[in-house]
């Protein structure tokens, strides 16, 4: 019977795929990565994944961890979707026996992973990019960290930037998701604190063909500038084009999702001199420069996309904690993170894994000068944040200055 | 039993039924004849509620049933068959029949779930009744056959069987003899007469004049959507208007 055959074949394939992956496993230390390689954030996941691979390379080149074992990274594709992400995370924890995970990118995946897999599975989860304020207040038994600051920090800087650029009236268009909402709220609060007036705050749905009605509404009270909270691939570029084409706005302020060279293509002269914000490295140390250098050695030119450096840092911090804990058990790693990191510890750069191991062996605390700047977690596992201000010059994106919050 | 008053039905300007009126007496067999396109099947659909009247009235058992939904008219005791037999193809002959009786408590899903014994005993009665009907039609050997596998004539009988299962007062039969071999036709004719003996009222559309002449008490002739003449079979046979309508010639 044909159907029986197929059925059996499929079962066998499933089973094989389960077991084969086990046969090749050697004595390694595993860290999981939950990156979206398909779905809405696929264009980010590809590069954040590179960030984690770079950390793995440095660590393994310098003798691995836990007494010479290799670091192995196991990635599962979240498909930018909570159902698949949660399933993937559980796979990492149960099948691969992993208790330390870097990911996920979007908060809509990170939070369910934290609640249904990481926390009950006693697994440390460090997100390199989930900026939702919800993560701050999550009841996570201390298992959930992030190497980016909460959205509210960028909002404060963006609000200040808008005021500093001599705008009295500001219109905001934001992507209707967790990220957009959080930023929008923070910008309004800060801009009004600085005496400005927000004339419109409009949420937009991603991937529409036309945003003219949103733009018309935003421009209705003659604001000085448009603060646009969007991603490049969800409609942000369309909004910029249509705003310019129809003359709704000629002055823009952008946020991190638009810190990408695509936004200026073909409209360089109109966007020349515009400013934007993006979470960035804490100043001090030369982590970011070093990271760029190492990244370009390994993968070629570093794309101007966010969260590559924070993904590197999340991986490195987990390795530090595993080394400190001397174990790959979740609770031990969780406790070790705050034991090993200290603002006033001994400086370790991103290419100094050997030095880090020695310091840990000597019982010293470490000030990790990470790829995104020094990584220090507050008591709820949020990273202290630095927000960079960037500018468009000659059609390119140039970093201007950094604000620390 | 059934009264139609000045019924009108238009299809985009064309009057398929045009001011047509007639009555059917209780416990009779009435034939509805007329040339093709006279509006007979349309009239059936108006009576059974499958089509909505544009004008006029339909009374069934003294009750005005204009534009009732088909299932409501059916519940008042009117059953019908279709010109081209409609069967529930992928269901058994028995199921085709057991579907029909109204007021089955198992038709309420709640009862099906939680009042199994009551539903089961009703189903047994229903099944027995379906077998009786099959016996009456001499189809009992086909009870577990899928309806799709029946011959054309057997499908006609099955239609009749479904009409019987409803225990109707009035049965509308649309060309019960069409495409049926002479042996089966006799059987169908016998069955129709037996139904009358049981007190049913029958209105049938038929082109087979022998059948009409043999079994009908009265015959109504329709032409161009209108009621043309009406009378006993013998009267109709000799009526020049009828001949004219069928031959389509203007002799006057």
């Amino acid at each position: 019977m044909f159907k029986k055959k197929i059925f059996i074949t499929m079962l066998v394939m499933l089973f094989l795929s389960l077991t084969v992956s086990g046969v090749f496993a050697q004595e390694t230390v595993k860290i999981g990565t939950l990156m979206p390689l398909t779905g809405g954030l696929a264009s980010y996941g590809q590069f954040t994944r590179n960030g984690t691979l770079l950390a793995q390379k440095i660590i393994n080149e310098q003798g691995g961890l836990l007494g010479g074992k290799e670091l192995e990274l196991v990635n599962v594709d979240t498909q930018t979707n909570p159902q698949a992400g949660v399933d993937g995370a559980q796979k990492l924890v149960s099948v691969n026996g992993i208790n330390a995970i870097v990911g996920a990118l979007s908060s809509g995946v990170t939070i369910p992973v934290a609640e249904s897999v990481a926390v009950p599975g006693e697994t440390v989860l460090i997100s390199p990019s989930s900026t939702s304020p919800v993560l701050t207040t999550l009841e996570d038994n201390g298992y959930v960290f992030r190497t980016v600051p909460s959205d509210s920090l960028q909002g404060v800087v963006a609000g200040n930037l808008a005021a500093d650029l001599n705008n009295d009236k500001l219109a905001i268009i934001y992507v209707n998701n967790d990220y957009g909402q959080g930023l929008n709220d923070a910008v309004i609060e800060q801009f009004e604190k600085r005496g400005g007036e927000v004339t419109a705050s409009i949420a937009f749905e991603p991937n529409k063909v036309s945003y003219r009605s949103e733009l018309m509404e935003a421009a209705s009270e003659n604001p000085d500038a448009l603060l646009l909270i969007a991603y490049t691939d969800d409609g942000g570029i369309t909004i910029i084009r249509q705003a310019l084409e129809n003359g709704y706005f000629n002055k823009f302020i952008f946020t991190d999702g638009l810190k990408a060279p695509e936004i200026t293509e073909g409209v360089e002269q109109y966007l020349e001199g515009m400013y934007g914000t993006a979470p960035t490295s804490m100043p001090g140390g030369n982590g970011p420069e070093l990271f760029t250098e190492l990244y370009e050695e390994e993968f070629g030119e570093i794309p101007p996309k966010p969260y590559i450096d924070t993904s590197f840092d999340a991986t490195f911090v987990l390795a530090l904690a595993i080394e400190k804990a001397g174990s790959t058990e979740g609770p031990a790693i969780r406790d070790a993170i705050n034991e090993v990191l200290a603002e006033d510890g001994m400086v370790v750069n991103i290419n100094e894994w050997n030095k880090a191991k020695d310091l840990i062996a000597a019982g010293e605390k470490i000030r990790y000068e990470g790829a995104s700047g020094p990584v220090i977690f507050n008591d709820v596992g949020d990273s202290m944040g630095a927000i960079g201000i960037w500018k468009i010059e000659d059609g390119d994106i140039v970093n201007e200055s950094v604000e620390i919050q | 039993m059934l009264k139609v008053e000045s019924a009108v039905k238009e299809f985009s300007g064309f009057r398929a039924v045009d001011e047509c009126s007639f009555e059917v007496e209780k416990n009779t067999i009435t034939g509805l004849i007329g040339p093709n396109g006279a509006g007979k099947t349309t009239m059936f659909n108006l009576i059974a509620g499958s089509l909505k009247l544009d004008q006029g009235e339909v009374y069934f058992s003294e009750q005005k049933v204009n534009n009732f939904a088909p299932h409501k008219i059916a519940r008042l005791g009117l059953a019908r068959t279709f010109q081209i037999p409609k069967t529930l193809k992928k269901m058994t002959v028995l199921e085709n029949l057991m579907l029909v009786p109204s007021g089955q408590s198992g038709e309420n899903i709640w009862n099906s779930w939680f009042r199994g014994s009551k539903v089961d005993s009703e189903e047994k009665e229903n099944e027995a009744k379906a077998y009786q009907t099959l016996e009456f039609l001499e189809l009992e050997h086909l009870s577990d056959e899928m309806a799709v596998n029946l011959s054309g004539g057997q499908k006609k009988l099955l239609e009749l069987g479904r009409a019987l299962m409803a225990e109707p007062e009035l049965i509308l039969l649309d060309e019960p003899g069409a495409g049926v071999n002479p042996t089966l036709l006799n059987k169908i004719a016998e069955n129709i007469i037996k139904l009358k003996e049981r007190g049913k009222t029958i209105l049938l559309i038929e082109h087979n004049m022998d059948l009409i002449m043999n079994i009908c008490d009265r015959v109504i002739v329709m032409n161009d959507g209108k009621h043309l003449v009406e009378g006993t079979p013998a009267e109709i046979k000799t009526n020049p208007k009828v001949l004219e309508a069928y031959l389509g010639e203007k002799t006057a």
């Binding site: 399933d87 | 059916a74 193809k89």
Partner: protein
């Protein structure tokens, strides 16, 4: 990789399969038995998930409620609210041709998603609802998922039983007859609209309960979870793979489809790390190939349509 680890993933995997199986059983009642074209499953899923979350959570300033009700009440409420939604959608559309119902259900699912996104007082908007309680959390320790799987299996068993019993009853006979020929059923005095509506509501109830189980299992829901791809079309694929109008096929379809969806990850995971990005794309292609193979070799689904008959008929010979 330990045996215990594989077992614990298997449990987790089966919970997801189970939730999808509930959705597929529900769709089978609507589509397989009653021929109703519901392509807004995501909407009923979301309504069930949010209803139960709001009913069972501790009071929160972020959204409506919560009302701190027990888990079982949450599940029932989820089913009831989803049923009411089905009634409201069904009243104007269910008597129309089936494609209109399809359009209406797409529309309603999108409206629901937008309401959830934008009506923050109700649903905390795009930030979602977190900390949805798990029933008897803490009692079972590290075996908790096994307990949750048991709950899911019980729900499936109940729905499977009710669905089988329903379709084999006179009620199911009318539904099957409607799918064969509506006119005949009307001529037999049955209210066709009523039966369709009942099947639609029954399916919606099950979808609501499935949504609630999803919410309690992941403890967090946001509009992101109710995208058409994972919440509607995947369920359709499961139904088609398993075989429409076959309850058992629906469950197997859910198992196989979710197995392929996630199992391909293991296959592509064996490729070297440098090919991760390509592997993800290969995985999507593999999923397509698997499904294609099944559909080409078994166009009617793995199990095809089951022969259902009302009970006493089956016993009579």
């Amino acid at each position: 990789m330990t045996l215990a680890g594989i077992f614990s993933y298997l449990v987790f995997f089966l919970i997801f399969v189970g939730i999808y199986a509930i959705m597929t059983l529900a769709l089978n009642i609507q589509r397989g038995f009653a021929g109703l074209f519901n392509i807004g499953i995501a909407g009923f899923w979301a309504v069930g998930a949010y209803t139960s979350a709001i009913m069972t959570k501790a009071p929160s300033p972020d959204h409506l409620g919560g009302f701190g009700m027990p888990f079982v009440i949450g599940l029932l409420a989820a089913g009831i609210v989803a049923s009411i939604l089905a009634l409201v959608v069904g009243i104007p559309t269910i008597r129309l041709r089936e494609d209109y119902l399809g359009i209406a259900t797409i529309g309603i699912a999108e409206i629901i998603r937008l309401v959830i996104k934008n009506e923050a007082w109700l649903s905390n908007g795009v930030r979602g609802i977190s900390a949805i309680p798990k029933p008897l959390a803490g009692v079972f320790g590290s075996n908790y998922n096994l307990f949750f799987l048991l709950i899911v299996i019980i729900v499936i068993a109940i729905f499977y039983y009710l669905s089988e019993k329903g379709i084999n009853s006179p009620w199911g006979r009318v539904l099957r007859a409607i799918r064969e020929d509506e006119e005949v059923v009307k001529a037999a005095g049955k209210n066709v609209v009523r039966y369709r509506m009942e099947a639609f509501i029954l399916g919606a109830f099950m979808m609501g309960v499935g949504g609630a189980l999803y919410a309690h299992f992941t403890s967090f829901i946001s509009p992101e979870a109710f995208r058409p791809m994972q919440a509607t079309f995947l369920v359709w694929i499961m139904l088609i793979i398993g075989g429409s109008a076959n309850n058992f096929g629906s469950i197997i379809g859910a198992f196989l489809t979710w197995g392929i969806w996630t199992g391909t990850e293991f296959l592509t995971g064996m490729l070297p790390a440098a090919y991760t990005t390509q592997a993800a794309a290969v995985r999507v292609i593999l999923i397509g190939i698997f499904l294609e193979v099944i559909l080409l070799s078994r166009p009617q689904g793995l199990f095809g349509e089951k022969k259902y008959s009302s009970k006493s008929t089956a016993n009579s010979k």
